[in-house]
Symmetry: C2
Subunit: 199 residues, 2 copies
């Protein structure tokens, strides 16, 4: 089932972007029947429960138009629309520092399409970096999970704006990104990469 924003733009819930990549493309991460969002939620619950970091996914923004209030029962939202988020999906705190990230997935075997991101998200990431926040993207691609610092993503975004390629090559991600260890608890141990890169 596909949804669209009022502007006609396709709405892709994170839990539908997480389909396992093709078998041959993914020795480590895919074909586990889990979505990237589920794995990150489990990871964040693990971090919370151990007090390692406190990170939550923001609710999907919805424009509420009409609400019914049946007696003695819950309010029912009868008409509402998906809104474009003006920020990234995840933020929180690690050792007092502000963490902010977006998680995206591609099944493209050779590059990561920049169309996975939006201008307003890049602008938000730029503001977070100016405020000295820790900002990055978690990319599920080529059978691995990478942490790519926001500064590198913005570099590739501006290259596209200047007429360059509309994607980040696999080699560029392997060069600019940090591999995130995959496990059971937590599933996507991105704090290890954060610790190595920012502390």
């Amino acid at each position: 089932m596909t949804f669209r924003y009022p502007n006609g733009k396709l709405y892709t819930p994170a839990d539908q972007t997480g389909k396992p990549a093709k078998k041959e493309s993914n020795p480590n991460y895919s074909n586990r029947g889990m979505t990237l969002e589920e794995d990150l939620n489990e990871t964040n619950r693990f971090y919370c429960s151990r007090n390692i970091a406190i990170v939550h996914k923001k609710p999907t923004p919805v424009q509420i138009v009409q609400v019914d209030y049946p007696r003695r029962s819950a309010a029912v939202i009868k008409e509402a629309y998906f809104k474009q988020s003006s920020t990234t999906d995840y933020n929180g705190v690690y050792k007092g520092r502000y963490l902010d990230f977006e998680a995206k997935e591609t099944k493209n075997p050779s590059s990561f399409p920049l169309q996975n991101f939006h201008e307003h998200q890049i602008a938000h990431m730029t503001q977070i970096l100016e405020q000295d926040g820790i900002c990055f993207v978690i990319l599920s691609a080529f059978g691995h999970i990478y942490l790519l610092p926001a500064g590198r993503l913005i570099h590739f975004w501006e290259r596209m704006k200047d007429g360059g390629r509309k994607s980040i090559t696999k080699a560029e991600i392997e060069d600019s990104g940090t591999l995130i260890p995959i496990g059971l608890h937590p599933r996507i141990d991105y704090i290890k990469a954060v610790e190595a890169l920012y502390f």
Copy 2:
């Protein structure tokens, strides 16, 4: 119009909690036809535009049950319910540090009722403090706006849990809280109080 959560709990949108307090009670802040949420949103837009701090209000969490997708138009959410948020309403970054706060208002002239907060919010604030985040509540009360550090709120909350009073007295708020300057741009300059208290 009143809404309820599926559990029957009353849903009070922030923009309905911000009615101006009684005239006589408020020389400085009330009777301005503005709500606390509107004033904080304007303040956060001001901070963002000047790159002073990047703080956003989280979307209201909604459980989406049914979505219609009319051809060539936006997806329409036809059935959804309000969910209880598991965190505070506002978070963001200031000078690299994580900021997290909730904003509440009372028209009670002599004390601030603790029923304005929920157990899960207190638990969240406790986790943020353990992670060395900057966590507080912004209280509109007695004609003023106060920043009350989360540690003090948790103290008063535990006093209630131990059978003590169910509110924070005006004197306690004046003693434990910091007055936030009220202005035009920004309207509620809470970063001044954050700077004074935490930096």
